[in-house]
Symmetry: C2
Subunit: 252 residues, 2 copies
């Protein structure tokens, strides 16, 4: 059984010109020609083309592929094994990219800026432990972060609008409480701290009192969060922190 160049192109999902090119550079020359010069590809040619396609998908150059495939020490199975490993590595990398994007989405929701390291972590080659530590510190609890990502990836535009509206409303009310001169451990302030916790639980992740107090600590420690709250009203970060602490103590 042999195949015309057009048929092979269709099967393998490449253009006829590509096959011409592979023939030109000697990477894949059809095992036969008709008397009129038409190329004829057989099963062995197809197997070689399959290998070429996989290695190309893995971004090997044609020259490298030629060297790899013509290596007498490597047989078909070893190629498959190698491709298998490279593919799974690649999948891992793409999954990291997906995580990074979800992280970036989270960040823009909350209104914080990413550090340059965070932006390019997938490509840059800096210490991965450092990142893990930062994320741990930022979110207090990694499981919570996972849950958050899982939940929020389902949200529609309307959901986000609702969340935004809700948190802006909450912002106005806590500012009003501050303006009224009430203390951070006043019932009104504590009520808003409680609402803050429930808002997070509802939309992002189950937020216990321990986690919330962790967040409060972080608001003071992380200048990006700090900037967000201070932009609404100076002193709000500390006020919220104190209200959360008072509320947590009172309720538990």
């Amino acid at each position: 059984m042999s195949y015309s160049i057009g048929k092979v192109a269709e099967l393998a999902g490449v253009t006829v010109r590509t096959l011409h090119h592979y023939d030109e550079i000697g990477l894949l020359s059809p095992s036969d020609r008709t008397s009129t010069g038409y190329r004829r590809y057989d099963d062995a040619d197809l197997e070689r083309l399959q290998q070429i396609r996989y290695y190309r998908e893995l971004e090997f150059s044609l020259e490298e592929i030629a060297a790899i495939l013509d290596d007498p020490k490597a047989d078909a199975t070893s190629h498959l094994r190698r491709q298998h490993q490279l593919l799974t590595e690649r999948i891992t990398r793409l999954e990291k990219m997906v995580n990074a994007i979800e992280f970036a989405m989270e960040a823009t929701k909350v209104g914080i800026k990413l550090t340059p390291q965070e932006r390019f972590e997938v490509w840059g080659d800096f210490d991965p432990d450092q990142y893990a530590e930062e994320a741990e510190q930022r979110w207090g609890d990694t499981d919570a972060y996972q849950e958050s990502v899982r939940k929020t990836s389902q949200y529609t535009k309307e959901d986000w609008l609702r969340i935004k509206e809700q948190s802006e409303d909450w912002g106005r009310r806590i500012v009003a409480v501050m303006d009224s001169g009430a203390a951070a451990d006043s019932p009104e302030a504590m009520e808003l701290a409680e609402e803050h916790r429930q808002h997070i639980s509802q939309w992002y992740y189950e937020c216990s009192y321990e986690i919330q107090t962790g967040l409060a600590e972080m608001y003071l420690a992380d200048e990006r969060f700090m900037a967000t709250y201070e932009a609404i009203k100076p002193g709000l970060t500390v006020f919220l922190h104190d209200a959360i602490m008072a509320n947590a103590v009172a309720r538990s």
Copy 2:
């Protein structure tokens, strides 16, 4: 805060030349220059570069990326959402490629040839139902195939040598039984049918009598399997089929 071109290149994992190129074609021009002509990139530039890198990873051309990023209707979040979707699609495709490779490895072990469709299923755009049907027919049971892939992917070279030795030994013995003139429903033949079943159970997947009889049917129906067995000894396929049937009836 602003960054030199070298620093940006290091952060983003690209070359300085690449950033020069992006500047040349107007895709990413640094927001500032020093009095001496040095490029200075700020946070907004980095964000744009981040988007560029993600879209590039997804194999968009620079021209397309420029069009996408300069579209006033799209904001940062919509880009992230889009990239998220494209990335997960890509992961799915790569996972299909991994499956295809595992399938190809299985096939070479068993000594059957792949059809052209099977070779290029990941790239070609033929009817996917047709393939599913073929796989179903070939393996009788999809779960079994999954289990097989899972198990065999762990095997070492020594394992494979052992398996090969074992099955060649079995081949010699069943040929001997045939040569002795024994019937397919003789105790010796049935014993070897039973061994065939246990061999599969041990190395590939839990092989019940129903599954084994399914395999026996398939050996007759699929000329690629047929070729394998007939190469050992003409008439072996039918003999094995009958022995399996007799054994299955007797044991259950």
